[in-house]
């Protein structure tokens, strides 16, 4: 067995203990729960536009990351830089 694999196996105990603690804690306290308003609100939306303007600007070669850095496509509630609208 490789050194990497052996080290990973040794982490099984601490990782399992931490994981179980958080799993049970959240099952009892539900600190991670909130109203899923993104999906539970009645929203009527016109078709999303803008995909015809997608523009290739660069290429990444030989990265070991499986996702783009700072991926937030599913983190709807994580706010990014807000551009103020002209009207307000």
């Amino acid at each position: 067995m490789s050194d990497d694999g052996g080290l990973a196996l040794l982490l099984l105990g601490p990782a399992g203990a931490t994981g179980l603690y958080w799993y049970l804690y959240r099952y009892y306290r539900n600190t991670d729960k909130s109203h899923a308003f993104e999906r539970e609100t009645v929203v009527e939306a016109k078709p999303v536009t803008g995909s015809d303007q997608d523009r290739k600007i660069d290429e990444v070669k030989g990265t070991r990351e499986t996702r783009i850095s700072g991926d937030n496509v599913r983190e709807f509630r994580k706010r990014v830089k807000r551009i103020q609208s002209d009207t307000s």
């Binding site: 105990g13 203990a17 600190t31 016109k46």
Partner: protein, 306 residues
Amino acid sequence: MSYKCTGCGAEVTVNTESAMTARCHWCRHVFGVNEQVANGAVPDAVLPFHIKKDDAVARIRQFVDKRRMFALKEFKEQFTPENVVGVYLPYMIVDGKASADVAGQGEILTRTYTQGSGDKKKTYYDADVYEIGRHVDFTVDDLPLESSNERGNLNTGVNTNNIINTILPFDTKNAVKWNASYLSGFSSEKRNQDVEHLRPRLEEQLLSIARCQVEGSVGRFDRGVRWQQERLDVHGTRWVAMYLPVWLYSYQQGGKGGMLHYIAVNGRTGETMGSVPVQQWKLILAALTVGTFLEAIAFVILGSSS
């Protein structure tokens, strides 16, 4: 808050923190808060309780029965779901029309390859980077916002209001015009937040909804998208102050850092959520036991393979 006296037409101020009726200073006519003039602590509409107390008690009991093993000893000893209270909590129900723009970068995988061999084998990826933007026009219907400052604070580090937030939404379409007689037999809390206080939270939620809406249009970026800028234009909103029915069981945890733990039942749908305080040493002991067991297995595997 100001009322118009139905006896003589004079304006009378009532402190609605303490009383729901008042006597006109001029004509001595007594009237109730139903005859309100200005928009204030009294809501526009109310959604009456539909779930009965027995039902709420049963749901709370069922919720706690699943969470007994690691629950705080005092909580279990004092657990009396019959003490649940029916509370009308103040919300603003918002309809809105908005547009949102988001901009950022997305990546599409073009090549996957491995280099090295055996233990040194590593996987590499090539990708195309795109600059992307999306626009969406949308309307939202009956978005509920807590309209009391205390209930709107959802910081789980200091309170368990997120529990009450989680049992949203309600069938607010069935709300009826406010009438104080709905309050009899129930408790209620006051609204202390106005449209202007709540607007930032509404805008945050509209942006979150917009980001959820555009997700489906960026599926081809299989390495994900990093949104960097967002913009919201609100074209119009409509606000209704409404009392929503909640069955609330509470337990005050004593000691350092002890907080008020809620178990809440949606008074219409019966959706139940709660915070059960934990007996920390039991939880830690269980985690350590399982951790030790897993570590023992790890050692056995390591020992047999070397």
